[in-house]
Each structure stands twice: as C-alpha cells, then as structure tokens.
C-alpha cells in the first residue's frame, strides 16, 4: 500500500504529543519511552521505515493514473434506459400504471386498459369506462400481449431475404415515386376501422393513380356486411340486444365466441336475460341451429345440428312459416320441420322480443333473410338496432382478389404491397396466389414475423405490434379510440402499418404519432390538444359512435344460392384460440384448450360419430393417449391431410376445420442445444424454434403445429361442398386436457330446467346428497377431524387485521358461456407457464383455471348431447384437505379465509394434490421457466412469483391484488370499499359469471349472489366447505320439443 503521511501522522503523533495522563499496564511499559516504538525497529544507519512516496511508488501511482485515465475514454454501451433524474409524478417504481389503448381486431378495435409494469406492458384488460367494453375481454386481447414478446418476431428489414435497414427501405420508397404515375401498385391490407389508415390510403391513391386496394381477411368475405347491403342497400352494422329478447334463434351464429367481432356486447346482453336471481325471474330461450358444436350451441336451450349448407333450407322454411315471402330452398326432415314449426311459434309469440341471428358461415342472402324475419317479427329497432358506418358499399373480397390475381398473372402489377396479411399461407390454393406473385415486379411485405409471405417478398419490413405504435380505430359501435403504444418498438426496424404506408405513399419517414395526430386534428373542431388528451386518457373519444338507424324496409334477396349436397361439406372457421393464425406463435393460445374439444396444440377435422363410421375412421383412447386416424380432404382442387376428432353433436356429413395451424416461420433465434443428460427441451417450449412451426435455412419446414386447411378453402365462402374424404393413416397423437366428457351421473355441474327450478327452488342445492334419500343425519353436521384447532379458530388468525375480510367467489353457470377469457386472464396475471403438447399429453398442464366441459344426455349413445361448461379453480375450502396433509406446512390458511401456497416452503411431496378432490393443484414437474427467452420473461407479472421446479402451485384468488388493495386502503386510512378487489378471471369475464368478494360485507355482490337458491358447492358432501360456490344452470327448453331430441337423421 502507499503510505500516506496523513495516515502515518496519526499513529506517530498520537501518544507523544497528546496531553493528559499516561496509561500503563506494567512498569516496563511505563519506563519505555513512549511514542518511539516504531522508530526502535529501524536503528540508526538502517533503512528508514517506509514513509512518504518513494520514487518507485511515484511511478506506480502515475502508471495507474495513466491507465485509469485511459479507461475513462472507453464508453459504456449506450442504453436507452435512463434513471429518473427527476421522477415523473405519476410513476412509482413497482406500482403498475394503466393506459388506455385498443386492439385492432377483425376490422374494428377492442378498447383496452393496458397495465404497464415499470415500462413493460404486462396485462391487458378491457376498458371499463368505454361504453362498449365494460372492462371485459375475449381471450385474444389478453393473449395479444404475448405476441408483443414473441421471441420469433421479425427484427430486421429484409431485402431479398438478406439484412437491410429501414433507411434502405426508405430509399426504396423514394424510388417508387420516380415513376409513380405509370406504376400499377396493389395493396393488400387487413380490414381496418382506422381513420388514419384511411387517410394514408388516400395518400397512396394520390401518389399512385393506378392503385388497387384489396381488403384481405384470411377467413374470406364479410358475409354480414354483404348481407346488410343486400337487405338495406347500405352496409349497416347490426347490433343485437339479447338482453331484451325472450326468444333467440341462432342460424349457425356463434355469437358468444371470442371470434365474433361484437363478442363483448353479445355476451353481456345475452347474460342479462339469463341471470335467474329468483325462481320467478324470466329468462330468454336460445335456439341454436348449427353446423358445429359451438359454445353458443352449448348455451342453447334447444339445439338442432344441421349441415351448414342445409341451414338455408331451415332459414327459408322458417321464413315461409312466419309469412316472409320466400321460397323454400330444399327439403327438411320431419324432425327439422318440427323445429321450424316450434321455433316459428315461439318467435311469433315473443314477437318483437325475439331475434334471429345468422352466422358467418351463412351466405349474405341468409343474413338478409334473417333481417327479413326480424322485420316480420317486428324486432327491428327493438332487439336489433343498426349503426350506420357510412361506408361505401362493400366490395366482395373474393371478387377483388380474383381481379388482383388475374392482374398479377398478366404482369400488370408492378408493386404488390402486403400489409400485415399472409396470403401465401392462407389464400386458397385455387386462387394460385403464390404463382401469381412471382410475376409481380416488386413484392413488399410488412408483418410481425418472417412468415410464409415474407419469405416470398422482395422487401420485408417488421411490423410494430399494436402496443408499440400509434394508431387509431373504431370499436364495433363506432366509438373512436386512439391506439396508444406502451413501449418503444422492441426491434429498431419495426414500424407500424401507418408509418409504412405513409413511407410508401410519400417517400418520407414520418412518425406514427404525428400521422395520427394530423388526422385527428382534422376531425376535431376545437381545442384539439384538450380533446386529444382526453381521448388518450379515457381510451375513447366521447360521443363518436356511429349514428343509430332503424331501416325502414328490408329488401328480400331475390334468390338464395344453395350448395350442391354431394359429398361432404367442409366448414372453415376461425380458430377459437389461434384466430386466423395471428396467435399461432402465442404459447398461451396454443395451450388454451379449444372450448369444446379441449384439444391443445392441434387442429382437427371435427365430425359426428356417424360420419366417422361412414368414413371408417376412428379415434382410439388407450393408456391416456388419444390416437386419431388422419384423413385427406380434397376440395376445390387441393388436398390436405388432417387428423380427425369425433365430436358428438356435430351434424352428420359435415366436417369442421379451423384456420391458423400448420405455420412455418423463420426466426433468428437458434434452436437450443442441450447436453444429452439434460432434458431442457422439456423445460420450456421455446427450445425447438417457433412454436407454430419453423422453417430451416433451406426452406424445409419443421415441427409445424397442426395442419393448414386454407388450401382447400374456396375463395368466396366458408363452406366447401362436395369434398371427398379418404383415410390416410392412423395413430396420430392428439392431446386433450379433458379425457372424460361425461359427469358419470354425479352432481358436479348441476342444472335443472326453469320449470323444475320454479317448482322446487332447492332442487339444485339438494342434488349433492351423497346417499340418496337418507337425510336424517346431515353430512353438514358430521364431526370434523381438526375441529378443535381449526386454523380459523386460532387467535393469530382472529387477531390479524386480514380477518375482517373473508373472501369468497360465486360462479354462475347460467351465464358462463365457456369462452375461456378467464383462463387466459389468469394465465397472464399469474405467470402460469405453458408446457407444450408433449407435457400436456403427460397430464402436466399448468393452467390454474380450467374450463370443464361435460356432455349431458339421457342416453349414453346420444349423438347430440347437451353441453355444460364449468370453470374450476381452487375452491379455497375452509376445511382444506390439502392443508392437513402437507408435512412442511407449505399450504396454509390465511386469516382472510383463502388457502395459500407458500412456494418457498414447498418441498413438492404432491400429497396436497392427491388429497384435493377438485384436482386444481398444479405441480412444476420441470423448471418450466429456467430457459425462457428474455422477451417472454418480460411478459410476466412482477407482482406474482415465478415458480421454480419442484413446487406446487394453484389459484390464489389473486391474493396479490387483494393485498395491494388492502395496502392502498391502509395507506389511505380507510376501510376497503365494497367489491374493491377484482380477480383477474372476474375482470375478464364478459358475462359477469364470476363474482369475487368479501363474505363479511353484506353489501357485496357476492353475498347477494350467495342468497340465490341455485347456489351449491361442488362435492359439498365432503364437508370441505369450499369458499367458491356455483349457481346451478337453469335451462329453458321448449317443452314441446322435449322429445324431439331424438337422434337426428342424417342428411
């Protein structure tokens, strides 16, 4: 060390020069001359003690100083994260902020409130203030946050497949202008409601006189808009008020599914008239005539399965029965005829309080016809209202596409611009899009992934996720929202579609923010800044809805086109989890069980048992594994091979398939290599490249999930008739989260008919008697094992201030449609991990909340059973069987009556899971989180622990939300307000089927719902006293159709 005088001084002087008494311990010490000890060591003539800086030390010091001086020249890498020199007022580290935004979805936007945790968007909720959302969501909105953090997203601008930069692309855009007048440019863009995009489109049109703008949606034509055009001469947008309807008829309309654009309003209004709070309450009756087993069909009181191509027969017959002047298009079976008559009678009785809805699989004529029936019933303006979108007459997408492809084939298109669409993947094969694209001069593609289309394009520009870029749009009712980004684009090259279109249209690089503001400035008359800020804060521009109109008169379609009824029909639907493929690289959605089949990580060809028998195909179940035969479906000149699945309740002769599978994505992320003793490939699902399916450098696809069914689509409809089907092979492994569909007669998801419920309101509650007819000694009075020292009786519990709130939950099975929003909300909120097909097949899925689906029928071989959904999560038993058996007290009761897992304490004996009668506990068999890509980690909620391997986990009743609300209340020195806390599942639920609250608060909604006579506790005879109770489902079937549910005839 360098000896410094300053330091030495102290020791040298301390004793000599101090005044005051001497302290000594021995005479020797007293005698010794104090202060000179150090000097003694070095006698005269010897080297002096090290003192001061020697020449050597001087050189050392200077050398070090120079080296350090040099180091300062090195700069740390530039990071954009800056410490708050002055903290923004509204940001408290660790406390999430919420910003209003909106998600573009099928041509509209869905208003959102996005939670930002320290700068990262982590959770998406509905915007409760928005007139059209009321805080709920479908699964898509919530899952979209994981699309943002998709590690396989495109990161760089690509020119002919090799790296380029945004400025390269800009110079390309500028070069386009050189011959803009002569260029013929085509744009394919997704349907949008964005005024700014409309303005950008106009800019494009003004630059390129020969512009073709094709709105392209993977699922095909917008039958609703076409139908409304047909019926009213303008593309009015219908809105159904199911809450006011007594009788609802769905003609293949799955209006309760998240794919429906107006899903939220449909679900909310439908639930309004299904909440039977008192046995005397009325409820609506839902008829579903459908070609699939949808969740709407599951909610139906009377359901008729029918091929999609035959539903027009039903519609026309019904219309005729009701007095609409239309000729029947085909014959019906006796049973169907009976339904026509009964439904007609019921509709007529209900009059204006009834509504008929046609679904997306049906042709525009049927939509128009449905409106004609509504008019006949007088329900236009009553249960059906219309928004005037002020759009021009919609062009048929199929026609526009045909024209475009023809032009491409004629080499008439110089530049083809594809904005966030993927026609190489999802255009029907008969269109010949891929071949035509080769004849186009320059193909530009913008998208989130380097996908099928991006690889075929000359330019690929990474698209910014909607949470990364400014935009705007209109919700279903037309209310304007600003899409507000919550984070800078994760990848520098990523730009929003607005910015890309603007660049192409003007050759200048403008920020999306300015583009949106410019357009809005034009719309807002006065005080722009204030209005803008208000709209940004609220998430919508007040009073910007479309005008509501009641059309005077419905023009009947001149004729109703029908399909040939040869061969099998194939019906194409948007996938309830992957939509059209936009969510296919989303782990949450891949693992989200299909609402009906409960299949994960696959798409299948759904068919009825009779159809399967016809085709001589089967699905076998052996030793926990489903093995399905695969079939080749040939239609529209193409063929795809897909595994089958037998779905009871499916119409015979119909095959249902969903879009969105069989992808091949390029990624810059390499596959993970692991040493042979390591099973890391099990520990997370991202190890094998893109989840949806990848593609190697040489263009060979690998590990695709499911099958792409788009090739066999026809260009203009959702139904392909006359398909031929042949069996290919057997043994394809299908993974489903629910292997058994029958309740085995157990009173689990209980229901009764409205009539039974009125006659005996206690009926549902009393179904739980373990021993029928033996009531003297009620099981509720059985002695309890640990009654004397029950956790809730301990003073530590009672003295705790949490004791004042006792949490509970009620789930109303009558309004739960099984839409899965709660499942995804829970997954996002609680960092629930995704384990992949293989591990789900091994029975190790982690979703805390599951949606149990049971088929109910009188006859075990009924091919058209009823369906009931039941969300199941931890029941938070007061006598929790899991708690008593844990040897290390890792699962314990909280003072507020919830059952909690202490992950740190858990050693993983899994006894709790065995002893849980509801089997809601989930075990971390591997370290699912150990190797998650950084991006995916960013999606996780910092307020919930990420669980490691070897510990048990389960629903917590969102205790972190409870605690932070309690903390807030305590900081503000106030009691908690009634229903101040919402669990994530409750928040997402569009029908308010889930109610969470404080049992000690008589004002709470929970306490009121618990008074309902439909309330029961699942497996109550076990006396575990669950805090979660269910309200039994009440069905309202038409008694005159009671015996009509006989096995339906084949078409």
């Amino acid at each position: 060390m360098i000896e410094l005088d300053v330091l030495n001084d102290h020791s040298a002087k301390s004793r000599d020069e101090e005044s005051g008494p001497h302290f000594w311990r021995s005479p020797v010490q007293m005698d010794a001359p104090t202060g000179s000890n150090s000097g003694d060591e070095f006698r005269d003539g010897m080297s002096s003690p090290p003192d001061g800086a020697s020449r050597r030390q001087f050189l050392q010091l200077m050398g070090a100083a120079m080296a350090m001086g040099g180091l300062t020249a090195c700069r740390r890498p530039v990071e954009k994260i800056l410490p708050y020199a002055r903290k923004p007022e509204e940001v408290i580290p660790g406390v999430p902020n919420e910003y209003a935004s909106a998600m573009p979805f099928r041509g509209i936007v869905r208003p959102l409130l996005v939670k930002s945790s320290d700068g990262r968007p982590t959770k998406v909720d509905g915007n409760p203030d928005h007139p059209y959302s009321q805080g709920a969501t479908s699964p898509y909105e919530i899952a979209s946050v994981l699309n943002l953090y998709d590690p396989d997203r495109s990161r760089r601008v690509l020119e002919d497949g090799s790296n380029a930069s945004w400025s390269d692309f800009m110079s390309f855009c500028r070069s386009l202008g050189d011959r803009a007048d002569t260029q013929s440019v085509a744009v394919m863009a997704p349907p949008t409601s964005s005024p700014t995009m409309q303005a950008m489109r106009e800019r494009m049109e003004s630059r390129f006189p020969n512009l073709q703008w094709v709105t392209y949606a993977a699922e095909g034509d917008d039958a609703v808009a076409q139908g409304m055009q047909l019926a009213f001469g303008q593309p009015l947008r219908p809105e159904y008020d199911f809450g006011a309807a007594d009788v609802i008829l769905s003609l293949d309309a799955d209006f309760l599914d998240g794919t429906a654009p107006n899903f939220l309003h449909n679900s909310q209004s439908f639930a309004e008239h299904r909440r039977v709070e008192d046995p005397s309450d009325d409820m609506s009756r839902l008829y579903a005539v459908e070609s699939a087993y949808s969740i709407t069909g599951g909610m139906a009181d009377n359901r008729l399965r029918m091929q999609a191509r035959r539903i027009p027969h039903f519609a026309t017959a019904l219309a005729a029965e009701l007095g609409v002047n239309v000729a029947p298009t085909g014959s019906l079976t006796a049973n169907e005829q009976r339904y026509v008559q009964e439904i007609a009678r019921d509709l007529q009785e209900a009059g204006p309080q009834s509504v008929v809805v046609a679904g997306e699989t049906q042709s525009p004529e049927i939509h128009a016809l449905a409106m004609a029936i509504n008019e006949q019933l007088g329900s236009l303006g009553e249960t059906v209202s219309f928004f005037d979108t002020e759009d021009e007459a919609p062009t048929l997408q199929s026609e526009a596409l045909d024209a475009l492809v023809a032009d491409m084939n004629n080499r008439d298109i110089d530049t083809l611009i594809m904005l966030g669409v993927n026609p190489m993947y999802n255009a029907p094969a008969s269109l010949g899009f891929a071949e035509a694209a080769e004849r186009v001069g320059t193909v530009v593609h913008a998208g989130l992934h380097v996908d099928e289309t991006a690889r075929a394009a000359d330019w690929h520009v990474p698209q910014a996720h909607y949470l990364e870029a400014w935009s705007d749009g209109r919700s279903y009712d037309g209310t304007l929202s600003i899409i507000q980004p919550l984070i800078d684009p994760l990848y520098e090259d990523a730009h929003s579609l607005l910015e890309i279109v603007n660049a192409l249209a003007t050759g200048t690089d403008a920020a999306g923010y300015d583009l949106v503001r410019d357009v809005w400035r034009g719309r807002v008359e006065s005080d722009f800044e204030r209005t803008w800020r208000r709209a940004l804060h609220d998430g919508y521009l007040a009073d910007s809805q479309y005008a509501s109109v009641v059309p005077a008169d419905v023009s009947l379609p001149e004729s109703v086109d029908t399909y040939s009824e040869d061969g099998y029909e194939v019906v194409f639907r948007l996938d309830p989890t992957l939509l059209d493929g936009r969510f296919s690289n989303n782990a949450w959605m891949q693992e989200l069980p299909d609402p009906t089949t409960k299949i994960v990580w696959d798409n299948v060809a759904l068919m009825s048992p009779a159809t399967a028998e016809d085709l001589d195909v089967e699905v076998t179940y052996d030793a926990g594994v489903f093995r399905a035969d695969r079939i080749a479906i040939e239609a529209n000149g193409a063929s795809v091979t897909i595994p089958i699945w037998i779905q009871p309740g499916f119409p015979d002769g119909s095959i249902g398939v969903t879009l969105g599978y069989g992808r091949s994505l390029s990624t810059r992320r390499s596959k993970r290599r692991t040493p042979f003793w390591n099973t890391d490939e099990y520990t997370d699902i991202y190890g094998d490249g893109p989840l949806a399916g990848g593609v190697n450098e040489d263009g060979t696809p690998y590990t695709p999930v499911g099958t792409n069914v788009s090739p066999i689509r026809s260009n203009n409809g959702r139904v392909a008739s006359g398909a031929t089907v042949t069996k290919v092979d057997s043994g394809y492994k299908i993974v489903s989260t629910q292997e058994h569909g029958s309740m085995e007669g157990r009173p689990i998801a209980r229901w009764s008919t409205l009539e039974e419920h009125r006659n005996d309101p206690e009926r549902i509650r009393e179904m739980g008697e373990p021993v029928p007819g033996y009531r003297e000694d009620s099981y509720e009075e059985y002695p309890e094992l640990w009654a004397d020292n029950h956790p809730s009786e301990q003073p530590e519990m009672k003295d705790n201030w949490y004791y004042d709130n006792q949490w509970g939950m009620v789930v109303d099975l009558n309004t739960c449609t099984g839409c899965n929003a709660c499942v995804i909300a829970c997954t996002s909120e609680n960092n629930v991990q995704v384990v992949g097909k293989e591990e789900v097949g091994n029975g190790r899925h982690m979703y805390w909340m599951r949606m149990d689906r049971y088929y109910v029928s009188e006859d075990a071989n009924d091919e058209s059973p009823e369906m009931v959904m039941q969300p199941v999560t931890c029941q938070h038993c007061e006598n929790a069987p899991c708690e008593a058996v844990c040897p290390v007290a890792a699962t314990v009761h909280s003072p507020d009556g919830t059952n909690q897992m202490v992950y740190n304490r858990c050693i993983g004996t899994r006894y709790c899971s065995n002893n849980c009668p509801y089997k809601v506990r989930r075990f971390n068999y591997y370290n699912w989180v150990g190797t998650l890509p950084t991006q995916v980690q960013m999606a996780q909620n910092p307020r919930v622990t990420v669980r490691s391997r070897g510990v048990m986990e389960k629903c917590t009743f969102c205790i972190h939300r409870v605690r932070s609300t309690q903390r807030q209340a305590r900081n503000e020195d106030r009691p908690m307000q009634t229903d101040e806390v919402q669990t994530a599942c409750q928040q997402a639920c569009p029908t308010n089927a889930i109610t969470f609250g404080d049992l000690n608060d008589p004002e709470s909604e929970l306490v009121q719902k618990r008074d309902n006579s439909r309330r029961y506790e699942m497996l109550d005879y076990l006396n575990v006293k669950p805090r979660l109770s269910y309200l039994g489902r009440v069905r309202n079937p038409n008694p005159r159709l009671a015996d009509a549910d006989a096995p339906a005839e084949t078409a």
Partner: protein, 512 residues
Amino acid sequence: MDKRTEHSEGPAEGSENFHERPRLVKGGLSFSDVTELVSYHAERKTPTAWYAAFAVASTGAMMLIAMLAYQVYNGVGVWGNNQPIAWGWPIVNFVFWVGIGHAGTLISAILFLFRQQWRTSINRAAEAMTIFAVMCALIFPTFHVGRVWAIYWTLPIPNQMEMWPQFKSPLLWDVFAVSSYFLVSLVFWYVGMVPDLATFRDRAKGFFRKRILGFLSLGWTGANRHWRNYEKAYLLLAGLATPLVLSVHSVVSFDFAVSILPGWHTTIFPPYFVAGAIFSGFAMVVTLLVIARKIYSLENLITLDHLEKMNIIILVTGTIVGFAYITEFFIAWYSQLEYEQYAFLNRAFGPYAWAYWIMMTCNLISPQLFWFKKLRRSIPVMFGLSILVNIGMWFERFVITITSLHRDFLPSSWGYYTPTMIDVLTFVGTFGLFFTLFLLFLRFIPIVAMAEVKTAMPESDPHYYDAEGDGHAPAAQDDTPYIKPSQGYRNYRGGKQNGDDTPDDGTTNGGT
C-alpha cells in the same frame, strides 16, 4: 451312536420329554458344526460366483444412483407422475419395500417374545433383508419430492425459519415411523449379532479383520455377565421393536387412509396393510432363503420345517389380505356412496383392471395352494409362489395408489398413468442396491445367528446329558474328538475326509 446323530423328527406320542421336541437343526450338527458351517462362508476365499453376482447387483446399484442423479438434475418430470396421478411408481415402490422390510423384525422381535425358537435359523438373514429393504424404501420418499435438497424440512430440527413440520400430516408420521423402525431394527440386528461377531473375531486371521471385528464385537468375551446383559438388552429391544412392527405399516397406510380420496379413505387400511406387509415380507424371506440355503449348504440349519412355517404364515396373511379386498368391496357397496362405489368398480373393471386381477390372482388365489402340506413343503412351489406373492403385493400398492388417483371425484380431471423408462430403471436399481447389500451381508456377516441357533438346540439344555448319567457330553468323557464335521459339511468341502482341518475351538464363545 449317541443322540447327536439320530434325531427323532418329532416327539413320540404322549411324550413329555423336553429333549423330544422336534429338532430345529437337522443333520446331526453339533455346536461346532454350526459354527463351522456359518463361519466358513465369511472366512474362505471369495468365490468367483460371488464376484459375478456382486458385479451384477452393484451394476444395478450404480444404475440406481445414476437414475436418481438424473432425476435430481432434471426434475420429477422424468418420471411418469402427472396430474391427477401425483404419486406414481416411487410411492408404490416405497410401500412395496417397506412391506418387504416387515418380516425381519417381526421374526426377530415378535416371534422372540412368543418364544418361537424356529425363528433363530432365519432371523439374521430376515433382519438383514428388513434393513436393506427399508433402505431401498427410504430412497423413494426422499427422492420423489420436488426439491430433494429441502427434504430435511420434514424433520423437526430447530431452525432459523422458526418452522416446525406440520404434525397433522401423515407423511410426517411416516418420516418418524419409518426412520425409527429403521433405527431400532438396525440396533436390534447389531445387538443380536455381537456374540457371533465375537466368534468371528476369535477365528479371524488377518490384521484388519481382527481389528475390525474386534471393534464391532464390543469386547465380547462370552462372560456370564455379558450374556446376562445381552439377553436383557435383546429382550428390551424386542419389546421396543414389536410395536414398531405394527406401527410402521399402519402409519404408512395412514398416508392413504387419512386422505379423502375414494379408495384410500378406508379404516380397514392399517390392519390390512400390516397383514399385507407380513405377507410380502415372508414371501421375500422365502425367496431369498430358498436360494441362500441351497448355495450356502444351510439345509440343515434352515430346514424345510422352517420354510413350511413361513409358508403357513404366508397362507394366513394372504387370506387376511384377500378378505380385506373383499371387505373393501362390501363396504363400498354398503356405504351407498357413488364415488366410493365407482372407485372400486373402476379398480376391478376400469382401465387398470389387469393390475387388479394380477393382484387378486397372486395375493388371494395363489397362496391357497399352501393348504396342501405337500405343496408347502415343495421348494419349487414355494419359490414360485413367493415370487408371485411379491409381484402381487407390488401390484396391490399399484392398484391402491394409482387406480384410486387416476379417476377420482371430477371426471374432467381423470387421467392415466404410464411409467417412464426412468421409473422402471430406478425400481430395478433398488433391487441392485438390495442385492448388493445382501451379497455383502452373505459375505461378511454371520448369516445365521449361530449363538441363537445353539440355544434352540436340545444340547443347550443344561440337563440334556443327564440321561446319559453324569450330565456331561459323551465326547468329553471318552476323550474322543468332540467335534466331528457333519456329512453335509464335508460334502460341501469337496468330499474331504474327517478331522484334519477341523478347527479346535469352535465352541469357545459361540454358545453354551
């Protein structure tokens, strides 16, 4: 010839003579013969066959270690466990091995207290089997937890977290029951071995062998005082071990019985598990001793009479177990509880019906053959049957654990369990460990309790020679060699003729 070479197989009708009780040791073995016969195997040069067997067994043990390391490295997911079958093969194997570990202490403690002298020939090996089986068993609950490095949290160790284990949990009771059973069995085994170790020590040749055996035999000299203390200690330990024999499997059964799962939640479990454990434990003893007595020429010490007695116990306990199976069905029907009824119907006719019927056949039907004296005295029959019983008892645990879990209350969460290769190899590996330890036992430890066997021989009666006149053994009188190797022993040594290699102090400490 004197009585030592001609033994009646049983007392004559109406005889009350003490000497006339059936001789437990056959072949006219003298005390010295017993010592020789037992010591020989530990003292001779290790046979090649032993090395071969040891190589196989220890490979299995190494595999076990490898499998466990793999599992700890990767997680419980390498096994077939899932949701809802959170307990799979590891717990099945645990209960299986604990069950096997039941016979030894039962033989040595309970039969000791009941003065069943036939136990003496088999108790050492049976106890060794118990200890090794419990060691194999302990591996499973330890490693089946998700975080094995925190397993010590199940022990009531004062700690900075100020956390005790949760005493309501049957798993915790299990920890106490099995570990105390293991410790008491180990001490009991060791204490019983001290006189025999001293015999070994006295005969030891090598430097290390002398020192090690000297240490282990605790300075035993065979003094009267030693014997007195020894007998008292042995009696006390037997008294201590007896309730443990019953408690350990009762407590293991609580793991199931205390839960609320249909098929597990049954009050019949404790007695039924204990009976099952004795059943499987005796079967395992029979399996092992049928082989060992043959290879080690112990037919005269472990006689057919011994084996027959064990077979009778197998018959009795097997019938008890079978009765329990049927009772479970009756109770399920009688309870009128649909969940309970379904659980049992599902066992017999569900996806795991094959396992159920293997269990029924092996455990209930096959032991009934032992009603026939001829069959229960037939070595091949008893060997085959004991293997069947072991298979059946493994399947019993499989049926209880897995079929109850795979279909419980909510059909939506029903599942199926398939073991992985790791499960299989781990289980096979425990057999490797078991046989490794058992081979070491056969090689280094007196495989028959020499001292105790001698006490069970008529010659140990102080008045045995009274009939001859002066109460002394004839050999001592005549000055002829007292010790004569038995014929069987001589044959064993390759037909070598009498006398020349006879050790001279075989009876020094062994037992008088």
